[in-house]
Symmetry: D2
Subunit: 291 residues, 4 copies
Amino acid sequence: MNKTISIIGGDLRIVKLTELLIKDDFKVYTYGVENADELTESKNLIKCNSIKEVVDSSNIILGPMPLSIDRKNLSAPFSEEKIDIDTVIEEMSNKNKTFIAGQILDNIAEKLQKGKITYIDLLKREELVVLNTISTAEGTIQLAMEETQRTIHGSKILVMGFGRVGKVLAKMLYGIGAEVSCEARKDSDIAWIKAYGYTPVHLSELEGKLGEYDIIINTIPFLILDENRLNYIKKDCTVIDLSSNPGGVDRKAAREKNLKVIWALSLPGKVAPLTSAQFIQETLYHILKEM
Amino acid sequence: MNKTISIIGGDLRIVKLTELLIKDDFKVYTYGVENADELTESKNLIKCNSIKEVVDSSNIILGPMPLSIDRKNLSAPFSEEKIDIDTVIEEMSNKNKTFIAGQILDNIAEKLQKGKITYIDLLKREELVVLNTISTAEGTIQLAMEETQRTIHGSKILVMGFGRVGKVLAKMLYGIGAEVSCEARKDSDIAWIKAYGYTPVHLSELEGKLGEYDIIINTIPFLILDENRLNYIKKDCTVIDLSSNPGGVDRKAAREKNLKVIWALSLPGKVAPLTSAQFIQETLYHILKEM
Amino acid sequence: MNKTISIIGGDLRIVKLTELLIKDDFKVYTYGVENADELTESKNLIKCNSIKEVVDSSNIILGPMPLSIDRKNLSAPFSEEKIDIDTVIEEMSNKNKTFIAGQILDNIAEKLQKGKITYIDLLKREELVVLNTISTAEGTIQLAMEETQRTIHGSKILVMGFGRVGKVLAKMLYGIGAEVSCEARKDSDIAWIKAYGYTPVHLSELEGKLGEYDIIINTIPFLILDENRLNYIKKDCTVIDLSSNPGGVDRKAAREKNLKVIWALSLPGKVAPLTSAQFIQETLYHILKEM
Amino acid sequence: MNKTISIIGGDLRIVKLTELLIKDDFKVYTYGVENADELTESKNLIKCNSIKEVVDSSNIILGPMPLSIDRKNLSAPFSEEKIDIDTVIEEMSNKNKTFIAGQILDNIAEKLQKGKITYIDLLKREELVVLNTISTAEGTIQLAMEETQRTIHGSKILVMGFGRVGKVLAKMLYGIGAEVSCEARKDSDIAWIKAYGYTPVHLSELEGKLGEYDIIINTIPFLILDENRLNYIKKDCTVIDLSSNPGGVDRKAAREKNLKVIWALSLPGKVAPLTSAQFIQETLYHILKEM
């Protein structure tokens, strides 16, 4: 396995990852993390002074996750500088480089292809997506603990959607001692919910049950808790919405009804940067071994 | 929902199902279960005297699961008679009937189509397949309890394959207190195994680990424990093979090595006929509602 | 069951309890919670203007939990006033009153006896002590989530002491997916730890194992993690001490070694006041039924 | 630790224990297990020809568990011979021997004292009693699987009594996926049942609930399911009674009501002799270390 890597930009997870790689005898070239005080000195850690230097130092270039927030510059919260994506791509072009980052949008992918750069989107690696659900589930539980005056233990909790996050979240809530119901629309998901020992709620019976829960957690990526359904929810219920923009809850209607709704996004990086770094490391090693 | 149904042949699960349907106010016509003493008299239970009578009495005809063992006659362990499949199909033909049974082979399906009979294979209903894994998993645990001199609790157990049965089985073994390892070949399955809290074993590291386990349970449907791999297994390990013909274990080699291998098939009907009947009932109702 | 009660002082749990009692058709007289905005108006809620009034209104007087922090006045965080314990006792004396509160110290108990007041210490009710462990355990988990950069899932966690809190805490941590070890000194506790499926660590082997854990949680009520033992702990381990004054960790030594130690006390009231109120309510009903 | 031991009589557990001790470099002298084919030859296994020889060969003498069934001879199912307890005691007397066995009745204890023999009752060692609950719980689950036509998963099960066996049994049943209720009479046990996540049933509400269960398992050591209470149980419920003579169920009344009652005793030795042997070994080592 190739043990030289260049890392550009990135948040706390990438900083932690840098440390894990150095501990594991990697030689790491960095750029765009100059304010990360956590990075301890090491002979295997070389802080580069230019994009050209960091790119030329290794064949594997690791970018941020997600790659960019503004769609123009690399995401680099530990740097004062703006790191233009196009400049980085230009520097990597036609040099036999492999670029690894998270959430590479189509227009960027096109430019990478033009530059004959092999690229791998970390967030399309199923194993990382699955591992991230662990952090997401725990972050959600932490939020539920902080934002309610009850214990999870003994609370009646509805998890909406039985996809990856729904499965791991239900397991943990159950493990703490909650009374867990899971909502799904497919008969086979309902069968899985039974097999795992949770109370199944078919979408068709949702309205009749919504009033029972102390906490409702949505993982469905479209407007499922619309104005009408919100009417059925208990006044002192806490709703946590994990689905990304535009979210699964009619927020305006919820405000009018005075319901407590928390919109929680990007939990893995926030609640457990070290564990997240370990998950990225594991996935990175799979990628390096496959090369 | 149509509450009249004709039932031909079938094992103890179908007999139990008959009782459940009658309790639920169905009118049930039967044929080919004359020796099922369990069936209590009821005004809603009509025992027919001929195939023609039972077929003509309802639009829904429920057959056995699996449909046939000898590929010629309906499976009917509670009957002295041979019930020829072709005769049944002929009787149903061109009468707008719906035929529901388990494991309808292609040549039978063809004949049903020719007779313009709508047919539904119960064992292609994902919800029933999932629910059946519950019975399969429990039956496997019962076997492991009966066939070993150890408790499941504290035993080191390897589940090979992380498909439907593997998932439910691992959960139950863990719930009893076993040290559960799960083998898989895909990185994403390894991630799931971690997420669920079991010890992951990648196929590539299998040989090195096989010697650790007290019990090995295979769910992979091809020869995975070949002669070479069997060499690594502990002498007092018990191997349970759940995969259907030809099975996942080289049985001849295992015998020569004096390893204890148990080949366990069709557990749901054997270990929990009542629960299995309830699962079929649930699936049947989904089908009837969709009609 | 007598459904009239007087409540003096108390924290958010007692305020929540007041609401639960009113919902359950109790007539409640209060004093010393005038700043509790949460208390909604109700014909069954009577706010009294003097100690005499509140005491004379019912035969059952409920005090705070714990009764007092400064050993002189009732604990009454929702009041501007100082409520002298002696005054309350005097007012209750020789009137056939029953006084219920938490943690009634010996000198107070003596005064209550002199005044011929029946008294019950809520924190000596085993069922409440057990129920409170649920809140304590969850509060500890919330802390661990907030104060570490890892997920609980997959972390190696040592719970020291296998008493009430240890038992419930270990169960929840395990339910989230931690690798849970439990320390105890009695062979029978070690047997219980095995029976519950955690990794047992006998006190005699503690030093050799301390270096393995990401998180160590102490429930033992005396100095167990002394300067010597602290030497064995990993640098990035988080230590949470749940044992009350003087605590189970040599805090000074820990500071010198730059170890992260969190001293967490009185979690139930802080993290889950509503659930705690329900637990007090349940215990109160047992008491009232026994009268 | 003294690694020489003499073993007289005993069932399959003691035979397995003998093998475990030899594997662990003990020198073992045996008498009264001549028909145990499982015992493999070893230079550390010496089969003695007389009681005198086996007693004189070590200072530690291990007897059966339980010591005797007929109160006259040692329990020795692997021997053709009768081994009179009095003869063994006489042989050990005044020679500084330590005698270890299970369930040493008072009259035997008296004789041992007279002979100045140190004796230890294994079944009074709390750690062994706790460990045995694991085997008892699993044996009960195996029975429930064999004797019902349902899966444990999804069944409504009542565990009566929340002592040692009740606790471990409830945990395992829950782990398989049963809906577990636990009956107790003390408020603090009810609190524990809640803390562990089972449904609590107070003795005072038992009659009203008895009709709900598919399986009822009694661990209470006196007649709790009397004729009156049996009236409330569902006709197709399976009752398993784990309490020793006279048992917790009015068996005569149950027969008249045609209820299925299984009386299950001494499960550890029957269902998991190897695990039981390991538990005895562990306890034996504790004893030897304490000497």
